[in-house]
């Protein structure tokens, strides 16, 4: 019990909205043990930021219980703040400060912590120590935000979409920073839109949708729940996808079929059996492929199978998905 870094029971947050109350967080439970890297995954507006900001003590819950490092915000706010590090989804730091000055400023708020230079070294920003914040690139600003979160040497770190909007290389750089922190056995709570990031970094993830946890477990567990480990995606030439999928359902080792506006996705146990079977079926029915790709099942598939929706509206993931996604959109526009 005592080695829970975070304990949340029936957390709710309501905002007054133009058409009625918005239930940003709607009965959310979490137990995050010390030393875990925990991912909150969900689409835009799922309530991730709201949840994390309540945990950080900068937002008030409407109701529910929250314990952070065994303490409560109402009674131990300062003690919690000394022990946590935070990056907000977006922060505009003071442009005319240098990287070092800003880090030093935040260091001055904590009783104990890292030397500012040491914090900057953790995120490989020491060469930029004397640069004005306004001259940093997007990725460097994000790393600065992480350095500032680390400067109080926190036991528990909240990172709200630290890699969103970064190019793949900066994203990987920041992911390496996070992996380095995990090696030091810190507790990390991370929100992200990128499944592959959650799969790479997180011991466990909670998939959040409309203010609730709809799935919880290690990435491998969640993927295993879909059954099958591979996805075969294809589209047919000159033929829009049809909702009647029985013909693909009965192919060898196919466990599930999903249709979206651009084509079909088969969850399969063994691609080396399923693909030949698919090709043969198309051959005999006299149809041609417009495209065919295979990949491993990802958390994205878990989310889609749970909700029928995609995690992100704009699919701009890492290389293979990205290229495919762009091609698909182009094809759609072309029609």
């Amino acid at each position: 019990m005592s080695d829970l870094a975070i304990r949340v029971r029936d957390l709710r947050k309501q905002y007054p909205g133009r058409d009625g109350v918005v239930n940003a967080v709607n009965g959310l439970d979490l137990d995050i043990p010390v030393g875990e890297c925990f991912g909150l995954l969900g689409p835009n507006g799922a309530g991730k930021t709201t949840t994390v900001e309540i945990l950080e003590g900068v937002n008030e819950p409407t109701s529910g219980e929250v314990e952070v490092l065994g303490r409560r915000w109402a009674t131990d706010a300062t003690a919690i703040r000394e022990r946590i590090g935070v990056t907000l989804q977006e922060t505009r730091f003071q442009d005319k400060s240098t990287v070092f000055e800003l880090t030093e400023l935040f260091r001055s708020f904590y009783h104990r912590g890292l030397e500012p230079m040491a914090a900057l070294e953790r995120v490989s920003l020491e060469t930029k120590a004397n640069a004005y914040v306004e001259t940093l690139s997007g990725g460097q600003k994000q790393r600065l935000a992480v350095a500032i979160a680390l400067v109080g040497d926190p036991e528990l770190l909240f990172l709200d979409e630290p890699t969103t909007g970064l190019d793949p290389q900066s994203r990987r750089q920041l992911q390496d920073v996070i992996l380095g922190l995990m090696a030091q056995n810190r507790t990390i709570v991370l929100t992200t839109h990128y499944m592959e990031e959650a799969e790479k970094l997180c011991n466990r993830v909670a998939i959040v949708d409309q203010g609730k946890v709809i799935a919880l477990g290690s990435p491998a567990d969640l993927i295993a729940r879909i059954g099958g480990e591979h996805v075969v995606e294809f589209a047919l030439l000159g033929e829009p996808p049809s909702a009647d999928t029985a013909e693909f359902q009965q192919l060898d080792t196919v466990l599930g079929v999903r249709v979206d506006s651009t084509g079909y996705a088969l969850t399969v146990g063994a691609p080396h059996l399923a693909i030949p079977a698919l090709l043969e079926h198309l051959e005999t029915t006299g149809r041609d492929l417009a495209r065919l790709t295979t990949r491993q099942v990802s958390l994205e598939d878990v989310f889609v199978s749970l909700t029928g929706r995609h995690l992100r509206d704009d699919e701009t993931g890492d290389a293979p998905i990205e290229i495919k996604g762009r091609g698909r959109r182009k094809a759609r526009r072309g029609r």
Binding site: V58, R92, K96, S97, L102, L105
Partner: protein, 356 residues
Amino acid sequence: MANYHPLRSLYLTRLREFYRQPARLFWVYGFPTVLAIGLGLAFRSPSAATIQADVIESSAASQVVETIEAYNKSRTNPDPIFKLKINSEADAFRRMRSGKTPLVVEVKGPKSIIYHYDPSRPDAPAARAAIDSVLQTAAGRPDPVTTVDERKTEPGGRYIDFLIPGLIGQNTMGGGLWGVGFLIVNFRIGKLLKRFAATPMPRRDFLLAILLARLTFLIPDVVVLLGMGVLFFKVPIVGNIGVLILIEIVGALAFAGIGMLIASRAQSMETVSGLMNLVMLPQWIFSGLFFSSERFPDMIQPLIQALPLTQLLHALRRVMLEGAGLFDGDILKALGILTVWTVVSFTIALRGFRWT
């Protein structure tokens, strides 16, 4: 090894943010300097005043023009010079409407003149009176009372002497409201306040650092304007400079408090800008920046007296120009009212302050 101190760090950050922005330096120091020089030149004491008037073309008009020309030739120096223009009726009235001439003289006959002017325009009644006096005297009006003109162009009694303390006070108001209010709302919009709130930063230190920085910026503010007044315009400082500084500090705190109050909950630049103007505009108009606030009706005087800028300007002028001391009734009253503004605005601002 290093010694970390939140208040000092926050204070230094504020100073750096300020002096690293040259554009801001211009608006804070350059702008009022240019303004003071411009106004100083516009209102400098001329060796002789020039009075303009338009005369409507008519057969009798030349008589009037000749009388005035004769006066212009025989006048002795500090007496005003008249510049008359003969124009058609339409042209003369058009020139008056567009502000080019304060007075139109219509000569009906040798003994009949009509003056056309807008009495609310400051120089119009003076022009009318001056011309009329010359014409009446020339026509044989006796002056039964002997008068002597004692002209005040000595330092201390001129318009620029009135203006410089006004500009110092108005700069203190602008600096406090914009410097504190804008800063805080900017931080709130950039989520920096929220980020600070997620640290154990002593919140008192954050606000204290802003105040200390404000008081620091006051030094160059006052030195620039006062220095310019003393060096260029020979504006005297009759009273004690220590009392002057004390008044400035209390005034700066009052406006910083009001700036913080305005910014304590505002979520957008539009909101603060609107509120700022709402607070500043009445003070620009009523507090006696460009002319004495006593010109306004008695009925609204209690309100005008309650405005912090009124008190700041009045106290600055009393000390600078009249040498009032710390225990002068006016000075104590001004310090008292400014202190009330400070305490009340800070108390409300801190109670409702939003970090998110």
